[in-house]
């Protein structure tokens, strides 16, 4: 079979087997039972009014199928994603759903084939307008979650059947470890405050300028010295003395696995969150990666991302596709 013929055959198969699934709701089951009973009664007695009622009930089933099909047609869904997803904590997730023509009603969106619990709904989707659907999702565990598509379900118009269509939309959602309560103390700081005097080796404070160095990935761009950067042709950041902050390097010991590893990761995440919240520098040392101590939200993200990938094969790029 030539490739072109194969392609046509695949198209025909896809056309004959539309990506829809149909599930009868609880009300729908009762409805079908009553319809069956009315049908039996009509056939048994020959009562024309029962035939009329049966016709009405069956027509409503057909109309329900047609209207729900129209609802799921021409839909486009885009993942807006989430700011941060933590394991076993509800996090706000968003999809942008739109329809070129025609209206849609009672749509429920969820991630298909992903261990994410929760769904979002939209009552009325106007034609041509993009609607932002919000949902509180929950992930059972940390790590990358492979997203294959978005499941769109509607029970429109009568709630008898739930018709579902999965819109393929591949992506990855990185779920950060839960920031549980840290039982253990983070230990001694690597560096502490040295009286009132500035330490020239601690160069991320708000004191006097100590020098310039190349801006590393993820560092705050506000530190860039634009004049020097322009003259050198590369981004240079200003280093200043600091006086009060301490520096911790948190460690996830190698050799941990399973539940033990998860517990340690959650603990480190919680410690990092607390220390960074207090304004200290925090670094991370794992068996595979080492993060230089730094402060701020960006650093917390780096730490959480690193912890989330621990035990998984990290991607080449450092970005979450879905988030």
């Amino acid at each position: 079979m030539s490739p072109r013929l194969k392609q046509r055959w695949a198209r025909l198969r896809a056309f004959l087997r539309p990506p829809r699934t149909l599930k009868v709701t609880r009300v729908g089951r009762t409805y079908l039972v009553v319809t069956f009973g009315v049908g039996l009664g009509a056939l048994n007695t020959g009562n024309n009014l029962l035939y009329l009622l049966l016709g009405m009930l069956l027509s409503m089933v057909v109309v329900s199928g047609v209207l729900s099909e129209r609802c799921l047609r021409d839909l486009t869904v885009r993942r807006v994603g989430t700011d941060a997803a933590f394991a076993r904590e509800p996090f706000a997730f968003r999809w942008a759903v739109a329809r070129k023509q025609g209206h849609a009603f009672a749509l429920t969106l969820a991630e298909a084939d992903a261990p994410l619990a929760g769904e979002g709904g939209v009552g009325y989707l106007r034609a041509g307008a993009e609607h932002l659907v919000r949902a509180d999702l929950t992930a059972p565990r940390r790590g990358p979650v492979t997203l294959t598509g978005v499941r769109v379900t509607t029970t429109w118009p009568l709630g008898l059947f739930a018709k579902t269509r999965v819109l393929p939309l591949p992506g990855t959602l990185l779920v950060y470890p839960r920031r549980g309560y840290a039982c253990r103390d983070p230990g001694e700081a690597v560096r502490g405050p040295v009286g009132d005097a500035g330490n020239p080796r601690r160069n991320d404070g708000t004191g006097d300028v100590t020098g310039l160095r190349e801006l590393a990935d993820g560092e705050d761009a506000r530190r860039v010295h634009w004049l020097k950067s322009a003259s050198q042709g590369k981004l240079l950041r200003v280093e200043r003395e600091r006086e009060e902050r301490r520096t911790w390097v948190l460690t996830v010991e190698s050799g941990l696995a399973g539940e033990e590893l998860e517990r340690r990761i959650e603990e480190v995440a919680a410690q990092a969150h607390r220390l960074l919240d207090e304004g200290h520098d925090v670094g991370l040392d794992t068996a595979t990666q080492r993060l230089r101590p730094a402060t701020g939200i960006a650093q917390e993200r780096h730490i959480l991302r690193t912890l989330a990938w621990l035990g998984f094969e990290a991607p080449e790029s450092d970005e979450e596709a879905a988030a």
Partner: protein, 687 residues
């Protein structure tokens, strides 16, 4: 409560009300269930959910109701189907008063479905059809609003107005689909056990008793209720039939009331032949409705044969037998809500064909009997009016004309007097049909002319293909025995007062309802496999008109217009679909456009880096101030917009841009070739 939820609940409650009403129109539900459900519905519509807090405890009330209904069934006071329907209604009422939640909504709709199914078993009325559609529409809207409401995030309004148009379209299609299913789904059984009659509301107002008593007080009401439907063959085709429909005759008058001599003549017959018929009999298919209230069969005067009788009850129809009594009365043996039967009658202008000597002796004697102590002025008056006329029919007509001229018609009764006839003839000089008929009969008898009183109906109002009689059409007239013709009808009542004397507006409204009801009955309730075959035959081979070719219209038949309309509609829909297909944004159009641009640029043989995208090439050419850069600018911009900016290429835009690019590339190639060509050197010319 979300905005729109209140509306949904009202619609849900109204749907339930329609479902209950579809059962209630049968008139079979116990009155206390009607009252209980009515209270529940009114409370629910007013927003008082009385059982919201103690739903389980109040469910015990249902248990009590169930026990009560079961006792009624065991006592035989209630049909089990009726009891089940009543219980479904009360469950629905209980749920209406409970707190609204998805489970309760589902139970209300489920009980509604059960109630309309019960209504189909109890009632065959047109009102049922209306209520069924109303239930379907209301329940669908309520369900749809519930579905949308569940999907709308908390705090957002339910888009009620947006829901309605597509839902209305859907419900319209559902009703059309139901009709199509009803018409075309093959009926697998021939016997119809659907309800043929329901008692309805109100007591029957006519019927026949064994006597006709003159006197009484008050006013006779012109009751417009329909009591009889009949189709005639051959069909007279007239709007007002103005025919006499006889029930029975009376022979003996005792001064106060008419009775009949003799008793039961034939006990149990499927078909009764009262008198020999002929070739020109009028066939009647008659249905006596529950409003009739009697067992005496009615037929056009003068009936020859009656039979093929069916008794209609709430549970269906079954064959029954007939009984013949004296006075020509034919009764159904069993009592039912209504009856249907067939009758054959002699043509109206012919007499009954009865021969005096063949009549039973008792009846022979009674035809000239006069009440004891009758006022002698009656006989004197008759002799004076007849003035020697002895021919029975002429004498009867002469007396009838005299009565119509000299006496007034009134529906006011004269009260109980000792001699109602003398009171009518010489006192009030006004009365109703029974007074006129009694007077004529006795006036004739005083002169030795045999006559008797007949009662039944007068009239016949055309509705669709048949005729109806109302309770107010009840009438009395006189049979005069004419030698050689038998009994001949002579009516002394003034012609204008013979038909029903009820309100014309009410009668018209009821006739309109009866016409619709008749259509409903013929098209829905009595629809059968035979009708389906007729429909199929009409679709395949439409019936040709009986008209002569000369009278045939020159226009194409209506079928051709129908086919043309359908074909036109189909062509329009195909055109719309093709247009939509053509307008549809093709997938990967921007990529295809890029491929075409790349192909054009390849012919230009521009130096390009490996994997250099179009935008970078354009930037490079612009920096180089290349001649193609200006042409490439809109191409690059539109490609990027189409692919990433959400602005797809308009129809024909890609071709236009590519055409401009092709021209620019060709021009540039020509210029480049010209520039690359070595300049022509001057040739030496030998001189």
């Amino acid at each position: 409560m979300k905005p729109g939820m209140r509306l949904r609940l009202v619609l849900r409650d109204l749907a339930s009300g329609c479902a209950f009403a579809s059962m209630a129109v049968s008139g079979q539900l116990p009155l206390w269930t009607l009252a209980l459900y009515g209270v529940a519905l009114v409370c629910a519509l007013a927003g008082f959910r009385l059982f919201a807090k103690r739903a389980r405890l109040t469910a015990l009330l249902l248990l009590g109701v169930a026990i009560l209904l079961a006792l009624n069934v065991l006592n035989g006071a209630l049909n089990i189907v009726v009891a089940a329907c009543a219980f479904a209604g009360l469950i629905s009422g209980h749920r209406l008063l409970s707190a609204p939640d998805p489970a309760t909504d589902g139970q209300v709709h489920l009980s509604g479905l059960l109630m309309v199914a019960g209504g189909a078993a109890l009632s065959g009325e047109l009102v049922y059809g209306v209520l069924l559609v109303a239930f379907g529409v209301l329940a669908s809207v309520a369900l749809a609003l519930g579905v949308v409401e569940a999907a709308v995030p908390e705090g957002e309004p339910v888009p009620v107005r947006s829901v309605m148009p597509p839902l209305a379209t859907g419900v319209g299609f559902a009703v059309a689909g139901a009709v199509a299913f009803f018409v075309f789904f093959p009926r697998l059984n021939w016997n119809m056990t659907g309800p043929r009659a329901s008692p309805g509301f109100g007591e029957p107002t006519t019927g026949f008793s064994n006597t006709v008593r003159l006197g009484g007080a008050g006013t006779i009401k012109g009751n417009p209720r329909v009591v009889l439907r009949a189709t005639l063959n051959p069909d007279p085709g007239v709007t007002a039939l103005n025919a006499y429909w006889i029930g029975r005759t009376y022979d003996i008058f005792d001064g106060q009331e008419w009775t009949t001599a003799g008793g039961v003549r034939r006990e149990r017959e499927a078909m009764l032949t009262l008198r020999p018929g002929g070739d020109s009999l009028v066939h009647q298919r008659v249905e006596l409705l529950p409003a009739y209230g009697g067992r005496t069969l009615i037929a056009l005067e003068t009936p020859s044969r009656l039979g093929n009788a069916f008794l209609n009850s709430t549970t269906g129809s079954r064959r029954t037998f007939l009984q013949e009594l004296s006075g020509g009365e034919v009764r159904v043996l069993e009592t039912g809500l209504g009856y249907s039967y067939e009758a054959y009658s002699l043509p109206p202008e012919a007499g009954s064909g009865d021969v005096f000597r063949r009549l039973p002796p008792l009846e022979q004697d009674a035809l000239l009997a006069l009440p004891e102590g009758m006022d002698p002025r009656v006989s004197q008056t008759a002799a004076r009016v007849l003035n020697g006329e002895r021919e029975p029919l002429a004498a009867a007509q002469k007396l009838a004309t005299w009565l119509q001229r000299e006496y007034a018609y009134t529906l006011e009764l004269g009260g109980n007097v000792d001699d109602p006839l003398a009171d009518f003839l010489f006192g009030r000089k006004a009365g109703h049909c029974e007074h006129f008929a009694t007077a004529l009969t006795l006036l004739l008898r005083t002169q030795g002319i045999r006559a008797r009183l007949a009662t039944g109906f007068f009239g016949g109002e055309r509705v669709n293909d048949g005729y109806i009689l109302r309770a107010g059409d009840a009438h009395a007239w006189t049979h005069v025995l004419v030698p050689g013709r038998g009994f001949v009808t002579v009516d002394a009542t003034p012609p204008a007062n013979r038909p029903s004397q009820g309100s014309r507006l009410l009668e018209r409204l009821l006739a309109l309802y009866e016409a619709v009801e008749s259509r409903w009955r013929n098209s829905v309730v009595d629809y059968s496999f035979r009708d389906q075959i007729d429909v199929a035959r009409a679709l395949v081979r439409p019936s040709q008109p009986d008209d002569a070719p000369a009278e045939r219209s020159k226009l194409p038949p209506p079928r051709a217009f129908g086919v043309a309309l359908v074909a036109g509609l189909g062509a329009y829909l195909v055109w719309r679909a093709l247009e939509r297909l053509a307008r549809r944004a093709r997938p990967l159009e921007a990529t295809r456009f890029l491929d075409a641009v790349e192909a054009q640029l390849a012919t230009a043989r521009l130096p390009r880096a490996e994997g250099e995208p179009l935008e970078e090439l354009h930037a490079r050419l612009t920096r180089m101030d290349h001649p193609l850069a200006s042409t490439l600018t809109p191409v690059t911009r539109r490609y990027l917009e189409a692919r990433f900016g959400g602005r797809p290429l308009r129809p024909g835009e890609a071709e236009h841009l590519l055409r401009a690019l092709r021209r620019a590339v060709e021009h540039w190639r020509r210029e480049a070739d010209k520039a690359a060509r070595p300049p022509s050197e001057p040739r030496a010319r030998a001189s």
